[in-house]
Point group: C2
């Protein structure tokens, strides 16, 4: 299984086919509904608590995903298509959501995320990207040369990294309550891995 | 934030209040809908691939969650309430789902999980557990003495550990496609933590 996957990944590194772009879009369409089903109307004890100072709660993560819809993915895709490597992306502010989220309920944030994601995917589909478009290069302020294909795959993987984070942050809230079972629960042994 | 949380956790270690039981139940009700929104009708490339030999795909995880609904959580709760520590739980078979899932589509498994979870939560609510019931002890074959409160908290944390796993397994499928961004994606640096 791993071998199959690696073989395909090697192809994917050279060229994200239109078929794979479809797979990416299909995942991107699901995230707002999945977060909505998991989080809407849950008690604050699950959604507003974090893992300690300077860490995100589930509420913060949804705000961060919204900020990405506004300032990251499609903005950068447009820069690649219009300017290629001649214009470096602006740095993304990991705390850019804090002011934007102020005074909003989690329900409002979930609605906003769903609306922005839907608009962005409409725009992405309307671009009717060809394989040669996906191979166009842009310039990331820290990573250097990246392709449009890599940017779009990262959009999907970024959703998954934050779903992974939300499950870990929520599990943290019952870390003590599970007693000796904590030894068996992998999520309680995850250190986060993000900078 | 962390301090608040720790204070409550210390209370939680002594006694899961009825209020916290409600929180646990509220999370347990969400998992089937969240997995349904994330996974149903996604291409097999997302849902049937795993992280290598002897690892779970998202499909396998849903099968494993179903097996837990049949053989683990409420079965063990009934044993605690009926026999206390005098009857050790049967060991849970981590691969018990393999034969049960055979020939079934992911959609069928998602339906089955939703139905069984709903039935189990109906049964849990009907028990109208009092604080003193939650403090009753049972005997786990490896962990020794555990409380009903710990078992129920673990049911919720187990959902979260597998949501954490699903997001990691799916992210693994675009590990190469993201190119240099892999450095920033925490989920790609998660080793799994489960035995």
């Amino acid at each position: 299984m791993r071998r199959e996957c690696k073989t395909e990944s090697k192809v994917g590194r050279r060229s994200m086919t239109e078929h794979n772009l479809q797979h990416t879009i299909l995942l991107l369409t699901r995230t707002p509904a999945a977060l909505n089903a998991l989080l809407r109307d849950l008690p604050d004890a699950w959604t507003l608590r974090n893992e300690g100072e300077n860490t995100f709660s589930a509420y913060d993560v949804v705000g961060h995903l919204i900020h990405g819809e506004r300032a990251d993915w499609m903005s950068r895709a447009r820069i690649i298509l219009q300017f290629g490597e001649t214009r470096t992306f602006e740095s993304f502010d990991r705390l850019g959501h804090v002011r934007e989220s102020e005074g909003k309920s989690l329900g409002q944030l979930l609605d906003e995320f769903a609306r922005l994601r839907s608009e962005n995917l409409d725009e992405l589909r309307a671009l009717s990207l060809r394989p040669e478009d996906l191979e166009r290069h842009g310039r990331h302020p820290s990573l250097g040369a990246v392709t449009l294909s890599q940017l779009l795959a990262t959009w999907a993987a970024h959703d998954l990294t934050h779903l992974h984070q939300i499950s870990r942050v929520m599990a943290h809230q019952c870390r003590e309550a599970v007693g000796p079972w904590s030894a068996y629960l992998g999520v309680l042994h995850c250190a986060g891995h993000s900078s």
